[in-house]
Amino acid sequence: MVRFGMRALPATWFAVALVGAVVSVPISAGHEGWYDTVFYPLNALGLALAGVLISSRHRSNPLGWLMLAVGVVAAWIEFFEGYGYHASWPAAATCAWLSVWLTWPDIGSIAIIILLFPTGRDIGTVRRSLVLAGIVAAVAMTAGSVIGPAASTVSTIGAAMFGTVLVASCAVLAVRVWRSNGVEREQLKWVAYVVSLLAVVGPLAIFFYDDSVPVQLAIAVVVTALPAAICVAILRYRLYDIDLIIHQTVVYGLLTALLAAAYAAVALVLGALAGGHGSAWVTAAATVTAAVAFRPLRARIQEWVDRRFRSARHRAMSRVDGYLEALRTGQASPEELPELLRAVTGRTDVELTFVLPDEAVPDPVSGDGRTRRVVERAGVPLGVLSYADDWAADRLLVELVERVGLAVEIGRLRAELRRQLDEVEASRARIVAAGYEERRRLERDLHDGAQQRLVSVGLTLRHAQMGLAGTPAGQGIDAAVDQLMLAINELRELANGVRPAHLDDGLDAALRELASRTPMMVDLHVGPERHPADIEATAYFVACEALTNAYKHAAATNVHVRVQCADGRLELTVADDGVGGAHPDRGSGLRGLSDRIAAQGGRMTVDSQPGAGTRLVAELPCAS
């Protein structure tokens, strides 16, 4: 019942307006211009409808009620006017009289409506004074009209006051648009837009006023536009982009004016030259001029208007376009996108996160005071844009994100790629580490298993040899033991190649041992610092391979081996004085080293000019 009551009162009043307006049409028809008959009741209904819509949703907003009242009165004015045409009907004179003076409070309330917009509350001293002045003006104009010619001074003063208040309320509106922000600014823009149209069309209509159809039509449309704009501004301001509407109006208004001017100028000049002959040609030339000028002129005006009237948007779009261009040429990265969005919107709370294919899309409603908006492309969620809830003016942001959709997609793909690459790198490092562990196990098995077993066999043979000295059996055992010792030595070499036991004592011990077993002069500089076992093993095998290459392939006689550790990087340098000309792509040795180093997040460079020796530098990450 309460709900019904809330809606019922405005609806009842609208019904009252509807009756007046509808009935006015048949009784006015034929007594005035058809547009007067049709459009003025429609205007009245427009006002009443806007009033109903607003007051039924925002009961405490006086604006809705005021508009509803003005609409009802305007509709009945039309009825009274129509009734007044029929002099034979009872009280026709009274109705005509009513229709004359009732117009004035309605006209007077236009300024008050503009002043009260959008909430009708918390209006400052200036607006309150202007509202009071507007009421006084309306009362004066009404009184002047009621009393008639005797009170023409009162009418004049009232009209002057009304004019002043109207101009002042428009000025106040402009100031309010300028100073406001957020939702209120969006709302005010709507009304300001329509008022501006009125300011242009109104004087023109008065200037050209001749009861012609176009003029009447223009006035009717413009008068209906104000309640419509107020209605949209209060109830649905988010639905339409007022900026775009203003912008397009200005663009096409200017375009029309300039084309008309061009047409007129060409027609005048050619007409004067032709001396009144060939007016068809003159018209054609002027038309062609206007047609040719249309496209370039439109682009120019668009650009100019963009710069002047939507500078924030224009700057933002230019920056985004510049970024997209840089992205295309590889000078910008998709990762800069969130920062760019923050920069162009001036909002530090804007965040853009990429949604990877197997990730869940976050719930848009989180209750943490942030709004989340999923950015999609072809139905696939790419990212989530989030910003603080209190930000209503997000239209620019949405437009920007739509524009940079490609960058979002690239950014997401790169994030996905990076994650997969990280996984691959981690698994590659694990594989290398597992390989080292396997080598360690193998080396242990060789040393502690096979090798020791052979030594025990030898010992058993030696024991069996006791007392056989000098006999053929004793000599046979000697030969067998010699073979055994060869086998043990080979096993030892094999185990050492698999993984030198000295690595347990550190890279320096292992390299020292390696250097001592290398048939070249090795100048070794290595500190006693310990590093992760995998890093030490890699550095060792790199040095081992490099020394083998230097000896076997480069015929080097002197080698410098240097291990330095700084800034979390271990740098191994192996430089020889051999023939040079080594290349990682030729022969699998260097390639394998390079792979092994890369697997652990390092890199290797080989400088090997023919005849200038080989210099291998391996960089590995080290914790120390």
């Binding site: 030594v455 024991h463 041992e513 001592s516 077993r517 100048d523 290595v526």
Partner: protein
């Protein structure tokens, strides 16, 4: 000789025990880890401890550490460390003390050499594996060793292994006097002082060989 053997591999431990028994030595204890070794050496005060360098639990250098502890607490016990692989750094470090030896495990199959080395170590001499010595003898730039004859280099290697002049003579099948001559010559060429003390001579030779090594 009274011998303690520390070797974690049972077969090898038994083989070594039999080897020493075959040569008339008294194996007073044969154990499988470093802890038992310390206890056995403390209990028996043997002439010689044979120590495997890798033993439980970590199989890295338990043997070497146990050997040092024995040398610190009972300096008279000779310690012969057996290793599966050549480790110049460890080896030379260990042998710098008297009554210390470092041999590759398969050296035991050269029974006579091995027993000689065991005897030397038990008597307070030293023993360094020929392969370790060979690594130490590796050529260097402008190597003074180049000035030695092949025979002198051979003698130098055996000196580094810890052999005395008579032992070198037996090994090379030459007279002791010939060996003395080689020794005098090579020490002169390398500018090293002569010394009568066997261990000090080994130390001087090792120090010299190491000084030539890079790094």
């Amino acid at each position: 000789m009274r011998v303690v053997i520390a070797e974690d591999q049972m077969l090898l431990r038994e083989g070594l025990t039999r080897l020493f028994a075959d040569h008339g030595h008294d194996v007073v204890a044969a154990v499988g880890d470093a802890e038992a070794l310390g206890a056995a050496v403390g209990a028996h005060s043997p002439d010689l401890a044979i120590v495997d360098i890798r033993m439980p639990p970590t199989f890295t250098d338990e043997g070497a550490r146990a050997a040092r502890v024995i040398k610190d607490t009972q300096p008279d016990v000779g310690v012969l460390v057996l290793s599966q692989h050549i480790d110049t750094t460890h080896a030379v470090g260990l042998v710098s003390r008297a009554g210390f030896g470092y041999l590759l495990k398969d050296r035991v199959l050269h029974v006579d050499d091995f027993m000689g080395a065991a005897r030397r170590v038990a008597d307070g001499g030293s023993a360094l594996d020929p392969q370790v010595v060979a690594a130490l003898m590796a050529r260097a730039d402008n190597d003074p060793l180049d000035s030695l004859s092949d025979r002198e280099r051979e003698v130098l290697s055996l000196m580094a292994e810890g052999l005395s002049n008579p032992a070198i003579a037996r090994r090379l099948v030459v007279s002791e006097r010939t060996v003395e001559g080689h020794v005098r010559h090579l020490l002169l060429k390398l500018n090293l002082a002569e010394t009568e003390d066997g261990h000090r001579r080994v130390l001087a030779v090792l120090a010299y060989l190491r000084s030539r090594q890079p790094g």
